[in-house]
Every structure is written in C-alpha cells, then in structure tokens.
Symmetry: C2
Subunit: 499 residues, 2 copies
C-alpha cells in the first residue's frame, strides 16, 4: 500500500499544475497527439552542500502512473473553469479526450536507496508528449521531497555512528502525506524507526515512542509520574527527565529503575530533550552507572541534526539513540531539492527515431543534456563506485568497452578514465503504462541504501567540503550537446524564428 493508494483516484490526476492540462489541450489541438517525448528528472546541485543524494520515492511511481485517471467529477471541475479573458478554459472535445484517459508511459528510474548525483537523470519518462506533461507535477511532488529527506537522513545516520535514529518529525511536516513521506524516506535511508503510527501501519516501519513532558505534569509529582509510566509500559519504559530539573529527574528515574528491578523488570532508557545534552548525558551516564544501572540507555532529542550529533560525539556524550524531528522533516537548512523535469528528446510518433533536444539558457550551468539518456556507473575491485557516465541510446546499444572517457558536464573538460564493466543505473519501473513487475519493498530499498553508502568513498560522504564524485558525459554526447547549442545560437542570431 502506498501514498497514492490512500487518495481517491479522483485526487491523483488533479494533483497537478494547471499549465500541464492547458499544455495538454494545446498539444491536442496542435495535432500532436501521437508526438512522443523523453523527459528527465534531475537536480543541479547536491543538497546540504554534500557530496551525494539518496534516490527515493521511485517505488511509488507505478501506483502514480496506473492511478492517474480523470474521473467524471474531475472533468466536471475542469469544465467549470473560465479563462481570464472570458469563455471556458477547456474545450468540450478535449475534456472528452481526457475522460478515462490512461497514461501510456514508460518510466525508468534510479532504484530507491541508490546514490545519485547532480545532472544525472534520476527518473526518465517516455511516451506521448501529452502524457509526459500531465504527470510532471505529481512526479516531482513524489520524488523531490523524498529524495531530499532520504539524503538528510543518510547524513544524520552517518553522524549517529551506528546508533539508532528515530524519525520524530510528524508534527512539523506538511500534513499527513508529508509525515508519511518523511517516515518512508527516512527509514529507507537508515532510520531505525518512526514515531508516526500511520507510517507503521501503511509501510510496516517499526514505530517508537517514549512519553511527553505533559505526562509528568499530569501527576502530582515527577516520581509518581515515572512510577505510573513504568507500571503501564514495563517492557517499553523510557523516562523523560527534563520536565522540571534534570538532576532531580535522574534521582527519580533511579528510584523507579530500582523498583522495576525488584519486580524483575528493567528500565529501558531515559530521554533528555533540552539543555546542554553533552553535559547532561555524561552526568546521567555516571549517575546510572554509579547506581548499578549500566544497562539503562540514554536517548537524546531536541532540534538535532547531523552537525549537533557529530558535535555531541566529539564531546564524548554517551548517547545510545536519537530522536530527530524538525530538522529531518523540514530538511533544514535546505528544504527543497530543486529537482526539475526537462525535455531531452522528441519524435513525431513511436515509429520514428528520437530527435535530441536541449534548452539553452542565459547561464551555461542551466543548459540541459540532450538525448535519451542512460547512466553507467563504474566500480573498482572492491565494488566501490569510481565514476558515472551519461550516455545516449545509440551508444548504449553498442555498450562501451573496457575504457571510456568521461568529460566533465560543465564545459570544463576534465577527462576521467573509467575501467571495468559498468552497471546501468536506470531501472524500468513502468512499461507502456503498466508496472514492470513489483517495485522493491521498503526493506529492499533500505538494504540497497545501506550497501551503497557503505561503498562510497568517505571523502564523498563527509560533511565539510566533500570531494566531487566524477560524473561526465560520454565523448559523443559532449559533441552532440555542442553541435545542438551552436545550431540554436545560429538560428537565434539569424532571427530565423521571427520570419
């Protein structure tokens, strides 16, 4: 079951920008119903000034494509819209074309949990231009945020050095879907659990929780509150120490831990949610050790992210697990991935060959990559990736041999030599509008993410000034890109477009 299962089919197709439908009507009116397109989703810079991103959200693409239909009430709504200049916005015949229309798309994407780098197509959509356009917004809405939050989580998990990290972000997410997306993506990227019960139910993610300050305040004294919680959750008892005064909280928790021992139970952990976590956790550890309670674990929360966790461990804080909420769910300080959806090839019908196309722009770094693209990833003898190469279909057909030259993507011609047999990164999720087998389970994606990050050079995963992972274009693609840019410039300077 997935996000899209939760919404009525009627909600799926209208979850889009108006211009997608306006353009679809325009293409339909311009006789471009058979016209075909290839679009790519990619981002231009790694989030968080980091060295990589974790692809996420792709496993839900098959549901999105299959459920994307315009129901009668959707058509009625569109028929009710007026153009600003008067008259209906949509023609009746076009709306009849849309009614019951199914997307005849083929979608390739990086597998969930895999590592992806700037400018690589992380999703490639092919099929009728109209269908490609109709799915744009929903697709970006699906993969942009999940990829961002998976990347953030991978960083937090790295900082936690193997200690469990739980997603506590639901209350700061953008509604229920936002909370579910956070829980799903963070679990794939290595979080051990979530506080989000609905995510537990829908995705089978382990759920975790302690108690709030309000629990303590609801009882006459903190000690009574701790006793009541221990009685109610003896197999699951984590006591929150900082409602009033942490040092008093420690004493009270030790009393309760001793009482639990007498009943043959064990206090699982304590949690601290405010104050100087480095100082307080050290004092707490010492107090519990001195009391003969070395098994009681210490959990920390309070506006944590990868940097505070790294700093806490650098100070020797004896923390066994983390609850990470706000900064995970909002991907602070970079709340947007900036993933875009760009046309890279067209053809008049499915029988013709693809014609590569690209968008020029004032700034060369915004220039797109033309053609039907694949990504090849090269590995060293230890299965560690050493470089990626973007190639186009024609080249892919005659798979490059043992050595390939990779050119840097930004017109700066660093040349890399890549050896060995590459693996193709893009997997076919949807073929001709129908799912191509079942996507990986969340557990499989999580395992893939774990392995992928384990094999990444630590120079790429470090937070400060990470090394740039080499991603380039195959030499022929570089030439194609230059030729296309030159042709566009020539046409433009001739003023050829304006008659």
């Amino acid at each position: 079951m997935s996000l899209t299962d939760r919404t009525k089919p009627t909600d799926v197709s209208l979850n889009t920008d108006l211009y997608e439908i306006t353009m679809a009507q325009g293409f339909w009116e311009s006789g471009l119903v058979d016209y075909q397109a290839t679009f790519n989703v990619f981002f231009r810079e790694n989030p968080f000034d980091g060295g990589y991103a974790v692809a996420c959200g792709m496993g839900q693409i098959p549901d999105l494509v299959e459920n994307f239909v315009f129901e009668d009430e959707d058509i009625d709504y569109l028929a009710s819209l007026d153009a600003p200049g008067g008259g209906p916005m949509f023609k009746r015949d076009f709306l009849e074309y849309l009614r019951g229309h199914h997307l005849d798309l083929t979608v390739h994407a990086v597998r969930e949990g895999d590592i992806v780098f700037p400018r690589e197509p992380m999703v490639r959509v092919q099929g009728p231009l109209i269908d490609c356009q109709l799915i744009e917004t929903a697709l970006l809405n699906l993969v942009n945020f999940q990829t961002l939050v998976a990347t953030k989580t991978a960083r937090v998990v790295k900082a936690a050095e193997g200690h469990p990290v739980s997603d506590f972000g639901l209350r700061r997410a953008q509604g229920p879907d936002g909370g579910l997306a956070v829980a799903r993506a963070s679990y794939i990227a290595g979080a051990s659990s979530t506080s989000n019960v609905l995510a537990g139910k829908i995705y089978g993610i382990p759920v975790f929780g302690t108690h709030a300050h309000s629990w303590v305040m609801a009882f006459p004294t903190e000690l009574e509150a701790f006793r009541a919680f221990a009685k109610s959750s003896p197999k699951n008892c984590v006591l929150l120490l900082d409602t009033y005064d942490v040092h008093q909280g420690i004493k009270n928790a030790i009393v309760v831990a001793k009482e639990m021992e007498q009943r043959g139970e064990r206090l699982a952990a304590i949690r601290i949610d405010s104050g100087d976590l480095a100082k307080l956790t050290k004092e707490t550890r010492k107090a519990f050790d001195d009391a003969g309670l070395p098994y009681v674990k210490i959990s920390a929360s309070n506006d944590l992210d990868e940097y505070t966790i790294q700093s806490l461990y650098a100070q020797g804080a004896p923390i066994d697990s983390f609850g990470v909420g706000t900064k995970l769910a909002t991907c602070d300080p970079q709340p947007s991935l900036g993933g875009v959806y760009k046309l890279s090839a067209t053809r008049k019908s499915a029988d013709e060959p693809w014609r590569p196309t690209m968008k020029l722009s004032e700034m060369s770094y915004k220039r797109t990559i033309p053609g039907v693209q694949h990504v090849l990833r090269y590995y060293d003898a230890n299965d560690c990736p050493v470089g990626d190469m973007i190639i186009v279909d024609d080249v892919a057909a005659s798979t490059p041999g043992d050595v390939a030259y990779v050119e840097d993507i930004l017109d700066a011609y660093t040349t890399y030599e890549l050896k060995g047999t590459p693996r193709e990164l893009l997997h076919c999720y949807v073929k001709d509008g129908v799912r191509n087998g079942e996507p990986d389970t969340i557990e499989q994606a999580r395992e893939r993410c774990h392995n992928a990050i384990m094999h990444l050079d630590p120079a790429i995963t470090r937070f400060l000034n990470p090394q740039v992972y080499p991603v380039g274009l195959e030499s022929g693609l570089v030439r194609l890109r230059h030729d296309l840019a030159a042709a566009e410039r020539k046409q433009s300077s001739r003023g050829g477009d304006s008659e």
Copy 2:
C-alpha cells in the same frame, strides 16, 4: 470539503506519534480517565525574523476532531504491535476502550487569517487528558505548517505591493497534502491564485497557469510554439520568453501579439523565468511599449521570495505579477514554525476548578504560561492593534476595565498601559466534541487577514528589524507564574520527589 475529508477516517487517528497512544494507555491504566486538561499551541519566536504570524489551519480543526476515531483496522494494527521488551504493546481492554472512542474536546483558537504573536495560545484544547493527548500530533501537523506558509505568503504579498502573486509551489511540496496546505494557506494570506488544480477543485481557489519551456521545445521553432499556444489559449495567453534567448523571445512574442490583434484577440502577458529579471523585464516592457502593445503584462518567476521581489521593485522592474514556488512551499529559509503543545491546567474531573500548571526548564525562555488562558487585543481609535494581554479564566470572568497593566512575558517587566475595550482573540471552534457552528469560509479568512495586516503598524510588518509588538501577561498571571515556579523549585531542592 477539507484535507481531512480527503483521507479515510481510518487514517485520521493513526496520523499521530506513538507516544500519544502509549500515554493514553498509561492515563487509562492510572485511573485518569476523568482527568481533564487544558493544552495550548503556541510558538516562541516569529518566523523569518519577522514581527508577526498569520494564524492558519484552524478552520479544519472541527473536521479533525469529529473524524478522529479508531476504526477496527486501526485497532487491529495497534494490537499487532509488540513492546521492544516483549509482549503486546497495548492491552486488549485499552484497545476496546479506544475502539469507537470519540474526542470530547472543546477547542478555542485564533480565527484563521488573524494575526498572532509569540507565546499567545493560538489553539487552546480542553477536555479529558486522554483526548487532549490523542489529538496533539495531528493538531500540530495541521496548524504548524499552514501558519508558517500563511506568514511567508503575507510577506511576499506585501513585497509585491498589490500585484498578484500566484502559488507555484506544488512540485516542491511534501506530497499532495503539502501542496494543498500551501495553496489554502497562501490564498488566505493574500495570494491571488494557485497553479494547484486539486486545490482549485477542493477549496474553490482561483487556478492560474502559463506554459512550460517544454512547450516551446516541442515545436520546430519558438515562433511556431507561440503561435500554437495563442491559437489554443486565446483568452488566456501568457508566453514564456526564456527557453532559448529572451531577446529573440520578445521579438517572437510581439509577432504573435500583432497576429492576435488582427484576430481581435489580445496577448495577456509574457513570463520570464530566468536571468536578470530586473534588466530583462525593463527591456521587455520597452520593446512591447515601442511595438504599441502596452497592455501586455509582464509576469516573473524563478526562485522568488519577499526579498527578491522587494529588490526588483527597488530597481524599477516593471513586473505586473509573480509566480512564487519553491521558497513559498518550503518556507525557505525557515521551514518550521516550531509550534509546541503545552499543558497549562488540569483538574480531576469536569466538576472541579482548574489547577494551573507549568513546565520549568533549564532556560527561562522555555518556561510555559500557566492557567486557562485568553488573549485580549487592544486597539487605538483607528482600529489598529496596540498590544495584547494574556489573562486567565478568573480574570476573564471579571473583564478588566478601561486600563490594564501588561507585563512583559520574559521576566523583564516592561509595563504597558492599554486602554479601550479589548477583543477576545480566541474563538470557540469545537464544543464538547461537536463543531460550534461552521468555521469561516476561506474567503472570509482571506478578508480577515487582509484587514488585519492593513491595520498593523508598518513598523511591525517591515522585514528588517521589525518593532516588537507588545504582548504581556496580566499582573495577576505574572504573580501566579512566579509563585508556581518558586513552589516547584522549593519542592525540587527539598528532593521531595524522591521520597
């Protein structure tokens, strides 16, 4: 129809942190079923270093409370959960108690679109402690983000100086709900439209759109692309100029505008989505004016926020409307409001008087405000707010007279003198679990927001170093707060809690 209508009832109650249900079980086991609580939602600092926030999301609280039920499949899921230490996490009898349980809550909140300041209760929840706890996460999930995005929008709308702002943020939002929340809150806060079609259908918000770069790239030349779009959307024609070269785009758009004139149509606008918007829009304006097309409007987009819009106008950019996406939907650079939910009063049953309570903390700025709180807003002769006073129930009963002294909230005793008849800010949305009339429509909330911001001192709405709006505690509440803090400290230093 609202967000919560879109989700199945079974999704509403589990959209929560696990600890809410664990605590509910604990309260139930501790015999606190009749125990009553008052909780407040508030934030500690205005977002975006600004001087105010726009309350939003409250209109959906009645749906949330009424739809909050545990269906059989929810109970089955909870029954399937094991405690980490072994055995079921929830007792069978407690789950039977939850099955079909309805929330018997009374909820007051600031009206949607009204202005709200730090530490004021923007939502006040009262009723059985268990019910208050169960709704916490979903309530924060509902109002935290919408209040944040409404505030962000109000800032962007102010910078736009009366020119229309359209929400383009769906593709960067956290899933469909995120996109809907952005569209709803931004419309309430003054956006004129949204690109989100589903938000148009569900909330009746005006929808707006142009076309994408891909439209231009799908045709052999830009001129053909513009002609086709003008033909397809003659009453709604906005041409995007920057797919290849803006200057060529201007020439092509002028050709098409002239052709439209010959058909008795008018090119509505052009849009520029990259490059130096100040320079390019001036050149565009001049070219269209010189061509006798002064009516063609100029729309700008590309990573805009309140600061870039303000800068564009400071440079004299002749922009008539804005599409604002990423930075609106993600509330960059502050993606979280930090709204919290804190207990402020308890009683053993509904027949007893409320007992105020507060959370001490290592840092005094995190100390909460005790009691069943109301917010009184005072106005000057021009209906402009001059200061807010937080009072508790007892005082509210004997409404303060013409003059009141307000003490600053952070233990710094600035004293304000407030005159006139204040208005109570909190409105009753839900009474004893049932909606208290219908909440305002979105249009009403939008009107309220417009009026409220119009009447705010510009010193408070400016972006740089805004003046602090006076919010204080009524003198008696200040004393109550100090007495409670002293009593807690005394108990703590006695070690009284640990026997």
